[in-house]
């Protein structure tokens, strides 16, 4: 599951043996802060929790930086961010992160998991406002199950490859593909339903 890290570690051992100096951690880590925060923000779904997660992940990364021998610092850091976020989700909310891999074909179970559409509100005017809200896709994305949400964020927003996403989420590439597919289907279905509602309003 972490083979990429070890492959890189083995490769690196042949070359440079000495750990990178601590002083360079800031220089190496800060360019990845944006991606780290973006991922944490979408996993935690609010800014405060995301900041907590990024801070803790950065400290973990700093603490273990001397053990890092890979070349893919970006993936290594995002993996730590994700693990920290998952721990926080379980710890703080009692959220049990249920695997959705039982229905790879995306049949009934997936359909049942379609995020609820935004509450249309009490009257047609309010409904119209909600539907025209530019933040519609934000809310739909936030309502995706976390395992689907993270692959959509990493692919569509952070533009990472399947391989990189598989490394960060510690899942096989086939699982990444099916999660991405189901995440996109749910978003398309929900966004399409909302647009249709808007046209008839």
């Amino acid at each position: 599951m972490l083979d990429f890290l070890f492959a890189e570690r083995r490769a690196a051992k042949i070359g440079m043996a000495s750990p990178q100096p601590m002083a360079s951690f800031e220089a190496i880590a800060l360019p990845h802060l944006g991606a780290a925060y973006n991922l944490a923000r979408w996993l935690m779904r609010n800014a405060d929790d995301a900041e907590d997660v990024v801070q803790e992940a950065m400290l973990r990364a700093l603490t273990y930086f001397d053990g890092f021998r890979g070349t893919n610092f970006h993936g290594w850091l995002l993996q730590i961010v994700r693990n920290t976020a998952y721990s926080s989700l379980r710890l703080n909310r009692g959220v049990r992160i249920v695997s959705l891999d039982a229905a790879p074909g995306g049949t009934d179970e997936t359909e049942a998991a379609i995020p609820e559409l935004p509450d249309p509100g009490d009257d047609p005017e309010t409904a119209l406002l909600h539907e025209r809200d530019r933040q519609l896709l934000d809310r739909l994305l936030e309502r995706l199950p976390v395992e689907l949400r993270e692959v959509v964020v990493l692919r569509e927003l952070q533009e990472l490859s399947y391989k990189e996403i598989a490394q960060i989420t510690e899942a096989p590439i086939g699982t990444v593909m099916s999660r991405l597919w189901r995440g996109r289907r749910l978003l398309t279905a929900a966004a399409g339903a909302s647009s249709a509602a808007e046209k008839t309003a």
């Binding site: 405060d48 990024v54 049990r96 896709l137 934000d138 490859s161 966004a191």
Partner: protein, 258 residues
């Protein structure tokens, strides 16, 4: 995307630029003949356009950036040379808002948000252990090596870890070894051994830790029992949903087994 074609995941892979030229060409030929796949591709395009243009681009605040820079500076080891062998101080983030409620002065915040705790201790690690255990139970998370033979499992770790984990099969004591795999805990790759007690999975995580031996300590988390101990230069964590007494007997058997 209400209709299905078996090629859907390939259409998606093509859309994401993950296919090589030959695969892409054969898929293009299929799309010519398959209206479902043509519409799938179009929907993927439309969704991407909407997501990339409408979804909020969340960026870190400068305050967060500043806090992190201060934390990195505060956690950096003293500049003296000669102690370079030492690992950096193990630091944990004090939960930010909990700290904030204690600390009125923002200037103090940077120094009090760091708490040095001994290696291998603390609720965060126990939490990680439970999370890893749960993750290992999810479908799709395949073990690295499936074997009840410790002479198969042990060599599998060669070259994958910078230490050789002891692998013991306790099948004759009622805890058969099922598989071995790599996991990532306490910021390092670790050996994970899966055992079973009746139908209950048990995960044992172990890695080098040169602290003094420590007697097993039991805790409960999310309905799982976690036992941590240190022995012969190893940190060991075992987690399961079996009865606590059974997990304790696992620990005794492990320690007693050669």
């Amino acid at each position: 995307m209400t209709e299905h074609c078996d090629m859907a995941l390939l259409v998606q892979a093509d859309f994401d630029g993950e296919l090589d030229a030959a695969q892409a060409a054969s898929l293009a030929a299929h799309r010519e003949a398959c209206p479902i796949c043509r519409s799938t591709y179009l929907e993927l395009q439309q969704l991407r356009e909407r997501v990339r243009s409408e979804v909020t681009d969340h960026r870190p605040s400068t305050a967060l950036r500043d806090r992190i820079i201060r934390q990195i500076a505060a956690a950096a080891p003293p500049a003296e040379a000669g102690v370079s062998v030492a690992r950096p101080a193990r630091v944990r983030a004090w939960p930010w808002r909990a700290a904030a409620s204690f600390v009125a002065g923002a200037a103090l915040a940077a120094s009090v948000t760091l708490m040095v705790i001994p290696a291998g201790q603390g609720p965060i690690l126990a939490e990680q252990v439970v999370a890893s255990h749960i993750r290992s139970l999810e479908p799709g998370n395949q073990p690295g090596v499936i074997s009840t033979d410790r002479h198969t499992v042990k060599p599998w770790f060669d070259g994958k870890l910078d230490y050789a984990p002891p692998v013991k099969n306790l099948a004759d004591k009622g805890f058969p070894l099922l598989s071995g795999r790599l996991d990532y805990l306490d910021g390092r790759p670790v050996a994970a051994l899966a055992y079973a007690r009746a139908k209950h999975p048990i995960n044992l995580f172990l890695w080098p830790d040169h602290g003094p031996d420590a007697a097993p300590s039991v805790s409960e988390r999310d309905g799982y029992t976690v036992i941590h101990w240190r022995r012969d230069g190893l940190a060991l964590w075992v987690v399961s949903d079996v009865e606590t007494s059974e997990l304790e007997s696992f620990v005794r058997l492990w320690n007693a087994s050669p």
